[in-house]
């Protein structure tokens, strides 16, 4: 009978091989939008001025306390517009994915829009390695990574948005505790 069912047995040895070599070396990245493209999409024809901000340890603690989400980096990537709108670029870490996204906040601190800039996927445990994450701060580890730049489509388990939800929660707390006061001072 011509079956419609194909059975594959995946070799257990793959796990060992991957653990030692592939996991460290391979992931893929998709760039959906550059920062400029996201700014243009979220708020057309607005000129943005970048503010460079480094959160103090106390600020990190209070943001974490208010949002109940841990802060990944003390460096904040924030832009402001003449009308008081803020454009923030942030990263979140999921089970398999590292997502860079942008949020447009109104002068009153409400979310006006969200766009995904980059999506990088790799094996779940690798993504939590400090040195792997460090590539997003510096460039030290990038040369060790083989990014698959072709069209990559993955099937198998829904990617949850819960990390982005948490990321936005963290940014809203950051607004309340840091950005709001910054503007009035």
């Amino acid at each position: 009978m011509n079956s419609r069912i194909v059975r594959i047995v995946l070799p257990a040895v793959l796990t060992i091989a991957c653990e030692q070599t592939l996991f460290i070396d391979r992931c893929f990245a998709i760039t959906y939008l550059t920062i400029e493209q996201a700014q243009e999409l979220l708020a057309p024809h607005v000129s943005w001025k970048q503010i460079s901000l480094h959160l103090s340890e106390e600020q990190v603690d209070s943001i974490e306390e208010l949002s109940e989400v841990s802060v990944l980096s003390p460096e904040l990537k924030v832009w402001n517009a003449a009308n008081g709108d803020l454009f923030i670029v942030d990263n979140v870490l999921g089970k398999h994915e590292f997502i860079t996204y942008a949020v447009l906040l109104s002068a009153e601190g409400s979310v006006k829009g969200i766009e995904i800039l980059d999506y990088r996927e790799t094996y779940g445990e690798q993504i939590r390695r400090a040195e792997w994450r460090a590539q997003f701060v510096g460039k030290s580890q990038v040369e060790q990574l083989v990014f698959e730049k072709d069209i990559v489509n993955i099937s198998g388990a829904t990617i949850s948005c819960s990390q982005i939800t948490k990321g936005v929660k963290r940014l809203l707390a950051t607004y309340q505790l840091v950005l709001k006061n910054l503007k009035t001072s």
Binding site: V6, H96, Y123, G124, G156, S160
Partner: protein, 293 residues
């Protein structure tokens, strides 16, 4: 080529790629996201004002006016419920959630699920009769439907080759061949486990990744699948690929062949070699930590 992604649609990230070099590609993508948003709003279990929530909270009996999308999805649900001998049942996951317990290895003896058609009857393309109190969750099928509808929008814009991926529920519009990577239970995307699709839909169910989620539940008895098999379905429409890869975990093989034949679908089942179970630190137990986080 243009590629965009949006979060929060249907609880996942939806990724749309257009391969044609045309000026209206960005508009087409926006319209497709808009269409998915519409479907999301009508079928969300969590949004109080959704048409689905109306069904879940109405007086019994009631005839409700709901979106045409919801009617289409419910009619497919009724079909699948009947053809899968009750395994596919959008009423079951919500019941388990409400009960606050997820039996992992045993079903619930007195779950007492009736056949879906005892509870809801479709009266017209915008009216549904709710005969018995139900609590439906379309999580196992709405994404597939939304992907199909998004592809229709892209086609209406005159696009030839495009791909829509809603968290792993994928459909390819046009003749271009796409290689889809399927996550290996332990190697993630580093597996060389792939499938090619062209003018087809593809969906994968990997219950090992979300052991706490009642996504793979036998609608007859509430049994939650807890093995480490990964099932992928290739079908013409994503709504069937999405639903069939849930049914596959519980239906016996002969019936499954018939069902795949009926919906003109193909299935790939991947499991881990038996050595896995004896591989010490690479055992399933030691790896579940990362899956459940």
């Amino acid at each position: 080529m243009i590629r965009r992604a949006k979060p929060f649609l249907l609880g996942t990230i939806v990724d749309i790629t257009v391969f044609d070099d045309v000026t209206n590609a960005a508009d087409a993508i926006d319209a497709a996201f808009q269409r998915i948003q519409e479907i999301h709003e009508s079928m969300s279990f969590h949004v109080q004002s959704s048409d689905l929530s109306k069904i879940n909270s109405c007086q019994i009996p009631s005839v409700l006016n709901v979106s045409k999308d919801l009617i289409k999805v419910l009619s497919v649900c009724l079909d699948l419920n009947k053809n899968s001998e009750g395994i596919f049942n959008p009423a079951v996951a919500a019941i388990l959630q409400k009960m606050g317990k997820l039996p992992v290895s045993k079903g619930i003896a007195n779950l007492n699920l009736s056949v879906l058609s005892d509870s809801i009857v479709i009266e017209s393309d915008s009216k549904v009769l709710v005969k018995q109190a139900v609590c439906l969750d379309l999580g196992g099928i709405a994404k597939g439907y939304a992907v199909d509808e998004a592809c229709k929008v892209l086609k209406d814009y005159g696009l030839i080759n495009a791909l829509v991926n809603a968290g792993g529920d994928i459909k390819a519009l046009g003749p271009k061949t796409h290689n889809i990577k399927i996550r290996h239970p332990y190697a993630g995307i580093n597996s060389d486990y792939t499938a090619d699709i062209s003018e087809q839909a593809f969906a994968t169910s990997a219950p090992y990744l979300d052991p706490q989620m009642p996504a793979h539940v036998d609608g007859r008895n509430g049994y939650v699948y807890s093995g480490n098999e990964v099932v992928s379905i290739k079908a013409k429409d994503c709504i069937y690929a999405d639903a069939l890869c849930k049914i596959a975990f519980f239906l016996n093989e002969d019936k499954l062949e018939q069902l795949l034949e009926y919906y003109d679908a193909e299935m790939i089942v991947a499991s881990i070699s038996q050595n896995m179970h004896n591989a010490g630190k690479f055992s399933i137990e030691s790896k579940e930590g990362y899956a459940s986080r």
